[in-house]
Subunit: 132 residues, 3 copies
């Protein structure tokens, strides 16, 4: 049994979504773990990990839905970026993916993406832990 | 430490929800893992794993809420099944459940369900990985 | 490799949110596990684990969003507490957090909270499993 952890660093822009599948795949390869689980985790509460298809039109649709659920324009109690926190809570801070033969087990149209929901540019860390 | 993985195969119909608790429980038993964690994962981006009560009326209510959030009737940017992807993103591709004494630790009204959010029938695989 | 499990007991009130970060941190310390993963899991379908900022104003905002998505006032098919189940399904029954140097790896404004979405007071158990 082993636990192998690496950190992905990202310079992000507000409301942008970043495909990190290849970076996570590389970490899984480096871990040398044959079979196990891979956790992708954001240590922050205004960013999220999305596991879905990386299609720009779909991501537009998802943003529209999230804007409808938690709009930037709403007068929230929490100052400035309540909508960022709420969107992050709905998409989630972490995803856990099976690892087989030193590879992530993902569907053909399934990508790992970091969503920057905050209202400003950020320097982000995404923690990738492989266990197996 | 061991990792034990099996695949559940399902022939699904659009917008149907399938209770797979017994199948997952069986895999946990087969794994012979006494204490650990059980990951239930869909390698696809228009299906989801729901962990809640398997009550037909409740599932109707949940579908109504999801139809309101991401309607089939909306003119989305992503062709055909954007609403399927968005619903799957909100319910999530995976759930992780504690294992104790070779059994899933679940509440009395807590079931593991596969949600087919796609617009057509599918042959699905659900990956179950037990680690411990 | 080890799996270490403890249960947090809570007496909850309807629609209240409880910060359990310190209790989970203590269990991680007791586990003596240096590096690994920590699962926080509710064995029930009307409570949820939220991983976000514990700010009373933000939690008000989140409740407003959830009330808009799944209102107490709606006439649901499922009797009494359909909205509780739906809110729990959207926030999720579990969160998985990396452990490093016998500590949870969390962001500065990231707390682990139990959300009581049910319509009555409950005696709740939250299962914390550390693996590594």
């Amino acid at each position: 049994m082993a636990v192998y952890t690496e950190i992905i660093k990202l310079k992000t822009k507000s409301q942008k979504i970043y495909n990190i599948t290849n970076k996570v795949e590389e970490i899984v390869r480096s871990s040398d773990i044959e079979d196990g689980l891979c956790l992708v985790f954001v240590p922050g509460s205004t960013g999220a990990i999305l596991l879905n298809e990386d299609d720009p039109m779909l991501l537009e649709d998802l943003k529209d839905v999230l804007e409808h659920i938690a709009s930037k324009e709403t007068l929230w109690h929490h100052p400035e970026n309540a909508h960022s926190h709420i969107r992050a809570s709905l998409i989630g801070s972490e995803k856990l993916i099976p690892v087989h033969a030193k590879k992530l087990v993902l569907g053909q149209w399934q990508d790992i993406m970091f969503c920057e929901f905050d209202t400003r540019s950020r320097e982000r860390q995404v923690i990738v832990s492989v266990i197996g």
